[in-house]
Amino acid sequence: MSRIDVRKTYKLFIGGTFPRSESGRTYEVCDVDGHPLANAVRGSRKDVRDAVTAARKASAAWAAVTGYNRGQILYRVAEIMESRRSELIAEVTRADGKKGAEDQVDRAVDTWIWYAGWTDKTAQVMGGINPVAGPYFNITSPEPIGVVGIVAPQAPSLLGLVERLAPALCAGNAVVAIPSEVRPLVAISLAECLATSDVPHGVVNLITGLAGELVPALASHLDVDAIDVAGVAPDALTEVEVAAAENLKRIVRPEPRRSPHGVTAFMEMKTVWHPKGT
């Protein structure tokens, strides 16, 4: 007897749940050859707002998690992705093509592990004790910036998102990310990995849809503290920067090489003075 196909409905990821858009809209997503693949959710500005609310709610507790524990949780994301490796490869193959698909998934997993190692080392390596005139210790330490918006690159579909998401989470931020508009599906499978990895609900929120609609809402939201413009088209960048200036959002641009500077790009340096005893 033949079975009826059980197909996956790709939805949003907000506050640890997988809702449809409040607008009820969808848009067609095609595979690399242009054949229709699925209907993805076409998120709205209100979905962005809901996601920011969820992220803000989650951010304080996530920032308070020790670096050591946060590293374990990010490592677990890698473990879960590894256990779903073949499925992720199949999805990346459909979205980006067979060439490099396997390598892309492996590198995405390794990216989590690389940043998992940095969670409890960023403060030592990137912070420090500053020499000052006077009997004081002057200590600088990086702290999470808060709620970060991420506009992921259009390609590669999985690695592009993971490379921006992992440093923001490593830094202890809560994130609202807009995955690739044309290749959004694997991002939702990534969300399933995150949802089962002890990443607290609301720390990562993913809104699929049209960048032209979602990015301005994210960039102008006054409760977002930084926005990563990795996936913003060059001709739209000025608009994003102007919107972000309203509440002095930090604009984060990806660097060509992976480094702890990519983590502190999502952090604020806090300095305290402490008297040296006698």
């Binding site: 500005r45 962005v48 707002r49 920011v52 803000r56 809402a217 102008s220 939201h221 006054l222 409760d223 309203e246 509440n247």
Partner: protein
């Protein structure tokens, strides 16, 4: 004061049982109504005008009362289009201070009294608390009914305590809290509402905000229908106040829809409708700013108290 049969007779004449499923369904269908743009701005501003800005904490201090009084008069200092709230709702010991701060501002001073929130004090002490608050300058008194007697079937006891409270409150506007979360059924909510209105309540109010569940949409609907039926029978218009757990602008707009659809436009004014809340006001201000600027706002931009 002796209770006569004729006083309670109107309650039995109106009577009526509540279809609980129907009430929930009706409230849910009204809650789906979409209110956008200009109508939304008007609704949000109306909700601000109907707001009883409330602080009923053990930690209330003169500083907090001063801050909230300032906020009640000018909720959004940067935006003169935002009106002042209806009243500041506080414990009796702060009434003298608040009435001095709010003099001539248009913001009323509302005091809870009468053994709030349990209503379990002896009646004479409850009445003295009411008289004291009125003497200190309270424009409005929020009392809570003794649920124990009513739940034991003593409608006359409830009638008597509300009448006595009304007398003690004198010129002040008397709001009677039914604490619907402890009444157990919509039938009892309706009956308690009718008895309170027959006994002279100027406004009936859902909850103290101290227990859960507090205000819910179906409860507000049942109470609004009781007010409507009482108005039909007696011609006396009684106000409605919803309180407890109302934190979002969306909720506030839903209550406004229920009031409009059940009681009509005459009730869409602070004279006849109130929302008791503390954190709601900031959300209303955020949504008003969103409508004005087009930008989603940041809670940190609004004062906590």
């Amino acid at each position: 004061m002796a209770v006569t049969t004729s006083d309670l007779e109107v309650v039995d004449r109106i009577g009526g049982a509540v279809d609980a499923v129907g009430a929930a369904q009706r409230a849910a269908s009204l809650a789906t109504r979409s209110i956008k743009r200009e109508a939304k701005v008007q609704g949000l501003q109306l909700a601000v005008r109907c707001c009883d800005l409330t602080t009923l904490e053990g930690s209330d201090s003169p500083g907090k009362i001063r801050q909230l009084a300032a906020k009640a008069m000018r909720p959004s200092p940067a935006d003169p289009a935002v009106p002042h709230v209806a009243a500041l709702c506080i414990y009796p010991r702060w009434v003298a201070l608040a009435s001095e701060l709010l003099r001539d501002s248009g913001v009323k001073v509302a005091s809870v009294a009468g053994g709030f929130p349990s209503g379990q004090l002896p009646l004479d002490l409850r009445l003295r608390e009411i008289e004291g608050a009125v003497a200190d300058g309270a424009d409005e008194i929020d009392i809570v009914i003794g649920r124990g007697a009513f739940l034991a079937g003593d409608d006359e006891g409830l009638f008597h305590e509300v009448t006595a409270s009304k007398n003690a409150a004198g010129p002040a506007h008397l709001k009677v809290i039914l604490e619907t979360g402890e009444l157990g059924s919509f039938d009892r909510v309706r009956r308690a509402a009718l008895v309170a209105m027959a006994a002279g309540a100027d406004t009936i109010k859902t909850s103290t905000g101290k227990i859960s569940p507090a205000a819910t949409l179906p409860t507000a609907l049942v109470m609004a229908e009781a007010i409507r039926d009482f108005w039909d029978q007696t011609g006396r218009a009684v106000g409605l106040k919803v309180a407890g757990g109302i934190r979002s602008s969306k909720d506030a707009l839903r209550y406004l829809v229920i009031v409009k659809e059940t009681l009509g436009d005459d009730w869409l004014s602070p004279d006849r409708f109130r929302i008791g809340a503390s954190s709601l006001l900031n959300d209303l201000l955020m949504q008003i700013d969103k409508q004005r600027t087009g930008l989603y706002s940041d809670p940190d931009r609004y004062t906590i108290d």
